[in-house]
Structures are given as C-alpha cells and as structure tokens.
C-alpha cells in the first residue's frame, strides 16, 4: 500500500479527520512537517483524512484567526451532478420528514410532504464513473488548451467514491478570490455564454470555425456533430427542424468545409439555429460540482487515504493514464483475504475482475474489498462467525 504523504506546504494547511469511533470531525489541525503529520495519523487512526486547499498563516487556529494566504484551484467532478440512467437501478433516497422513498436521484422536494431533506444512498458504478471520467478528460483539455496549464501542473485523482478531482497548485492561481473562481466555473459549464459574443450572428449568418480555439471551436464542433448525426432532440426543436436539417445536411456541411458561414439554411430559422447552439453549449458544458471550486477554504480528501463511504482509496491518476485507469481495480485498498457479511440489500457491482450479483438478506463470504464496500454503504453487517477458525 502506498504511503500516506501530506500535501505540499504541509505547514500552511489545515487538516481534518473523521474519527471511526466517535463519528465526529476533528478540524483545525496543523502540522509542522510530514513526520509530525504521520505520528498524529498513527495515534488517531481516522476513517477519512482531509486537508485544506487553502494556505494559512496559522492553520491550527479557529477560522477567523487563520490568516488566509491563498488556495489551490480545485475541481470536483462527481457522478451525483451528471444525469445517468443507471441511477434508477442503484441509487435510493428517503425523505427525512415523512419517510417516503424512491429510486434514482433525489427529487427537489418530496411529492408526499414537500420536504426538501433526504437521506441518500448512492453507489459507484462503471457507467457513472465512466461518464465522470469523460467529463474529467474534457476538463483537463480545457485547462490545458484554454487556461494554459501543462499536464504536470494538474494533479488528477479518483476521489474514492463517484468521481474525480483535478487539483492545481500553481502559484499564479492561489490568490484568485471566490468570484474569480466562479467565473472559471461558469466558463467550464458554459453558464451565461452569449453566442453573439462567441462569433455567432444569427442575423447576418456569421459563425465560428471548427479550428477556432476556446468556446468558439467547441461550439462549432458540437453543432457540426449535431448536424452530421441529426441527433437533435426533436422534443426541443421540433420534428420539422430535425427533418429539414437532415435533408440539407450535405449543403450545410459543404458550406462548413468551404469555411462559409454555416448557420444560413433556408428552411432552418434563426430561432432554430439558436436552439441548436443552445444544445451545443449543453454538450460542451463540463458538469462540475460548483461549490468545490468557489470555496476558497475547502477541505479535500488526501490522496492514498480511504473514502469512508466505499473503502476505496483516493488515488492519483498519472498524466496520460486516465484513459486506462480503472477505479474499481486501481483504487482497491484491501487486496487480500475474505470477510463474511450479512447483506440486507445491495445492487449489482463490480470490484477488480469480479462482478457481484445483488444480495438480499443473506450471509455471504466475500473478498475483503467487496465486503468493505457493502459495510461502508451500510448495506451489510459483519456476520457472527458460526465456526470460528481455530
């Protein structure tokens, strides 16, 4: 197992620990160096370890006395924020007020009592994590091409649960305030994007090139794909537009290749083109957990420590390895042995090379990592040993 190293500039970071026994968060801890940190870690054995993306004069002091010096730029991509169909199978919610429950992502408010607070059980699954990985790759590309960060300036990591983090420690970004970070978030998500400021003029028929950099090129590419595949969602643009777009596909694409303005098509109105561009923005938008980036005091899980909800570890993903990275294999912390558990209810899942079926009210002997995942999710309990091994 990899050693747990504290982050760079340990002496300026705040650390926090979730304690196994008390289930409480121990915050505002500061350490002078790695040795000091490890000594503490061994003495408390926490379930989860966090550190601040912020640098403080006095990290151990209470919040108002800390003396904020700056913060890393951090992005969190979490399957919770990306709609996937499989959530219907593996995620559940229960209304805290009336106890009503359902499958999939939690509703905005409870249909039964109007309550807005829910207990949620979400499972990491291959589909969700693959979608999160795609978003992470998109984010990485934008950070490189638009924001000019080199690959070695970006630390990519699997969060240990349902997503990925990108962490930038570059000195130039440290003093960005929360508003500035909000602008970066909006940039990534395409929030507030006005097509007329990104090369579109629906009146005169001006449109950006596929080779343009930044949002211009990305919008052109997404619109091109929409036209090419005619994958326009008919429910939002109307069947007629989809049809006429499809019929004129060749002409539009010809214009495109000839570098002419491609948003002039006789039977596709400018309103419809505006709708196509809106869908292009949606396609290129990167689904971030916005608050993680804008919070300049945020606590983040430390790499190579366990995620208390899965028993998997937060794992760094090296430069070019994200495509090959398999969270359900590469992030397994407990590789040996088996544990017998009593499972109340669990969906299908995969760990390593093994796919597990769903279980319901049964006792099973499982590899420790799988048992750990079920235990962490609250879906199982350690089974009493009937025949203890001598």
């Amino acid at each position: 197992m990899a050693t747990v190293d504290p982050p760079l500039s340990t002496e300026f970071r705040e650390f926090a620990f979730l304690l196994f026994k008390e289930k409480t968060m121990l915050r505002h801890k500061g350490f002078k160096d790695a040795q000091d940190f490890r000594k503490f870690l061994q003495s408390v054995l926490p379930s989860d370890v966090y550190y601040s993306c912020a640098y403080y004069e006095n990290p151990g002091a209470e919040m108002s006395q800390k003396g904020w010096k700056g913060a890393d730029l951090v992005f969190d991509i979490d399957a919770d924020h990306i709609p996937t169909a499989c959530k219907q199978q593996h995620d559940t919610w229960t209304c805290r007020n009336c106890g009503a429950s359902g499958r999939g992502s939690k509703p905005e408010s409870c249909a039964k009592c109007g309550g807005q607070k829910f207990e949620e059980v979400s499972w990491p699954c291959d589909t969700c994590l693959e979608v999160a990985k795609r978003e992470t790759i998109k984010l990485k590309e934008v950070l490189e091409n638009d924001f000019g960060f080199s690959s070695h300036e970006m630390k990519v990591a699997f969060s240990g649960h349902r997503g990925y983090h990108i962490h930038i420690e570059n000195e130039s970004v440290r003093t960005l305030n929360s508003m500035a970070r909000k602008e970066i978030v909006d940039y990534m998500m395409g929030k507030g994007l006005d097509p007329s400021l990104q090369g579109f003029d629906f009146e005169r028929g001006a449109s950006p090139d596929l080779e343009d950099f930044g949002w211009r090129g990305r919008l052109a590419k997404a619109a091109y794909e929409i036209v090419l595949s005619s994958q326009l969602q008919p429910e939002t643009t109307g069947k007629k537009t989809s049809k006429s777009l499809f019929a004129q596909r060749e002409r539009i694409l010809e214009r495109w290749d000839g570098k002419g303005p491609w948003i002039i098509t006789p039977s596709v109105s400018k309103e419809k083109w505006a709708e196509i561009i809106r869908q292009a923005i949606e396609r290129q938008s990167i689904k971030l957990d916005t608050v993680v980036t804008t919070d300049i005091h945020r606590l983040i899980r430390l790499a190579n420590t366990l995620h208390g909800e899965t028993g998997l570890k937060k794992t760094d993903v090296l430069g070019g390895e994200i495509e090959r990275f398999d969270p359900f294999n590469d992030a397994i912390a407990f590789k040996d042995g088996t544990t017998t558990v009593y499972v109340t209810e669990s969906p299908q899942f995969r760990l390593g090379e093994v796919s597990y079926r769903s279980y319901e009210n049964e006792k099973v002997e499982l590899p420790t990592a799988a048992a750990m995942l079920l235990l962490c999710k609250g879906a199982a309990e350690i089974a009493e040993e009937e025949n203890p091994v001598q």
């Binding site: 091409n145 638009d146 924001f147 000019g148 960060f149 130039s172 970004v173 960005l176 305030n177 508003m179 500035a180 909000k182 602008e183 970066i184 909006d186 940039y187 395409g190 929030k191 507030g192 994007l193 006005d194 400021l197 990104q198 090369g199 003029d201 005169r204 001006a206 090139d209 950099f213 930044g214 949002w215 211009r216």
Partner: protein, 359 residues
C-alpha cells in the same frame, strides 16, 4: 518605459510620481505658503469635481498661463494633498466617490494612450497585457489588441456586470484572454479605484494649516448638504425597516452617491417598484449616484416597471443569483427562509407593519 513628467501628472498615483513628490520635499505644515497656492487650489478642485461631477478633470492638456513643468508639478503634487484632505474629511461615501472620480479620470486618459504607455501603467498594478497583431477574418469579430493572463483579467471583473466581461464570453487561449485597448484602460481604472480607496482608508493624523482646514470644512459642508438633500427626497411610503440586507445596502450606496453596477441597479429598481414605490420616487433614489442621467434612468425604471417595451414587469433576481454576482452582503435569520428579496420583505413586513407603517 520611462514616464515623462506629463505622464506623472496624468497618473499621479504611480510609484514614480510618489518618488518625484519625495524629491520635491513637500511639507504639509507649510501648505499655506504662497508657493503652494496653486497646488492647494488644485487639490480642492479635485475634491469639488468629485462631489459635483463624479469625475476629476484633465489639466495636463490645453492652454494654460503656467509653464509646462509648473503645470505638471501642480498635478503631481496636488494628488497626495487631495488624499490627505479626503482622509481628514473622514466620510466613507466621499472616499468612495473621490476614488471613483480619479479612476474615471485615469480611464479617460488611458484609453487615448499609445499601447506602450498603457502597458507601462498596467505594470504598476501588476497587470501585464501583451500587444498582439490580430488577423481579422470576419468583420463582425471584435479586434483584440492585447492578451492578458486570465488571472490578471479575473482580478477586477466582478465589478463589471455586462455579459461581455464574463470569462465565458471571452476569447481565451493558452491562459491568455483577448482584450481591447479600451478594456485594458477599464481594468486599470478599476485598479486605480481600489488603490486610492485603500490609501484613503489609512489613518492619518496630520496637523494641517488653518487655510487648508477651512477649505476642507467648506468641502465637507457641500458634500453633507448634497447628501442630506438626497435623504430628504427619499420616498416614505415603503417600509424601509423591512428591506432585506442586500436592498438596504444598495439603497445606502445610492444615497451616499456611490456607484451601482448594472445588476445592482436592476435589483434595487425592481425591488422598490414591487414594494409599491412610484416611478418618480424610484428615479429620485438614483439621483445621488455618481453617473446619474435623468433621461436614461427614467427610461430604465419605466422599462422595469413594465411601462415600455413588452410591458413585462420585472421582479428582483433570486437570492442565489445575487450571491453569484456579489450583490448579497450575507443574510440574516429571515434570509435563511427566503429565496428572493421580495419574499424576505413580505415576511418581515408582516412582523413590523403594525408598528411602523409610514403613509
């Protein structure tokens, strides 16, 4: 790049200008002496212009009886004297108004500068715009003359609310944002405003000669009487005590002749109209603001009231939008249960109305 004495006169807030002042060995206690007459006069004028017009005038160009170097020195030296005078007036709203008036003055000069000089002044504030040659493929594409690191760009734009300033609406490549010369001047202007405001908030206990003290007193009176006039004109039919913290703050800024961004104006206007205030009274609220134009304000207020255009009556933005745009100053207990400023108002109204409704 070397800044000439005229440059220092135009941009007296630069460290180079401060060095120049130090060399001249100006003594605060001797400001009543005849040789400093023109300087003190100009300092007083700078404040007066801020109070009356919201912008400091340009005295570096045009015909003057004074010799060129004397004229430049008056500009350079009058700036620190003005700062001392505003500090001693000790009024927050005047400090903000003066800083903004100097920023506007700087912006007016900067937008006409040649690119090298503009860049040199930008360096003072740690902004490093890089001049570029752009090949314009499409006449509709705005030409950008400079590239600025996104970090430098983001430092000040939260104050601007036009959508063209949003990062997502900019052209950006390899960490650099395309900006026009005018935009570089705006960004520097904002740096100037923040820098001067920070200087004005430093404490200074200086023994000023009586003549200067008298001038300060006169300026203070003028500022206060304008401020009071605005307060008296405030409409009374709405229950101000029931305003949420954001609206209270916006109203205060307007009354104190502060600067309101587009979204702040929209929020305040739509809120006041929805709270039952008449169009005329809402317009009066904006009279003290630094860039007030009655015609323009009437047009905007009537539009928001639904009297013009499509006839849509607008409501203030939701709390989280206000928070995104930095308008929310942080809420109180009622805010936790309200998601719009008007919801807050209605709730609080129910609690305070029996005691304090004003007719």
């Amino acid at each position: 790049m070397l800044l000439t004495p005229t440059d220092l006169a135009k941009y007296p807030f630069t460290p180079q200008a401060a060095e120049h002042v130090q060399k001249l060995d100006l003594r605060i206690t001797e400001l009543d002496q005849a040789e400093y007459g023109a300087i003190v006069e100009r300092a007083e004028q700078r404040i007066q212009e801020a109070i009356e017009n919201g912008v400091v005038s340009d005295r570096t160009t045009g015909y003057s009886m004074q010799r060129k170097n004397t004229k430049d020195d008056v500009e350079i030296l009058s700036f620190p004297i003005t700062v001392v005078m505003v500090v001693s007036i000790s009024d927050q709203s005047l400090k903000r108004r003066y800083a903004l008036a100097e920023a506007k003055h700087a912006y007016n000069l900067l937008k006409r500068e040649d690119p090298h000089k503009l860049t040199a002044i930008a360096h003072v504030f740690n902004l490093h715009p890089r001049q570029v040659e752009t090949h314009v493929k499409n006449p509709q594409t705005t030409t950008s003359e400079f590239l600025l690191s996104f970090v430098g760009y983001l430092k000040n734009i939260s104050i601007f609310h036009e959508s063209k300033w949003k990062l997502v609406n900019r052209r950006m490549q390899h960490g650099e944002v395309h900006v026009t010369k005018d935009e570089v001047a705006r960004l520097i202007g904002e740096e100037v405003r923040a820098y001067i405001e920070s200087k004005l908030n430093l404490k200074a206990d200086l023994a000023l000669p009586q003549d200067v003290v008298n001038r300060i007193e006169k300026l203070k009176q003028r500022h206060m009487s304008l401020k009071k006039m605005q307060e008296e004109q405030m409409p009374k039919e709405t229950v101000i005590e029931a305003f949420p913290p954001c609206i209270k703050k916006l109203r205060k800024t307007a009354l104190e002749k502060g600067h309101l961004s587009h979204i702040e104006r929209f929020t305040l206007t739509s809120f006041l109209l929805n709270s039952g205030m008449s169009v005329d009274n809402v317009i009066e609220c904006f009279r003290p603001t630094s860039d007030f134009s009655e015609k323009m304000t009437r047009y905007q207020v009537e539009h928001i009231a639904g009297g013009r255009g499509g006839g849509t009556k607008y409501v203030p933005p939701k709390c989280d939008t206000l928070s995104t745009h930095g308008v929310c100053p942080g809420g109180d207990e009622i805010c936790e249960k309200a998601w719009r400023p008007l919801t807050y108002y209605k709730r609080k109204l129910a609690a305070v109305k029996p005691k304090t409704t004003q007719q």
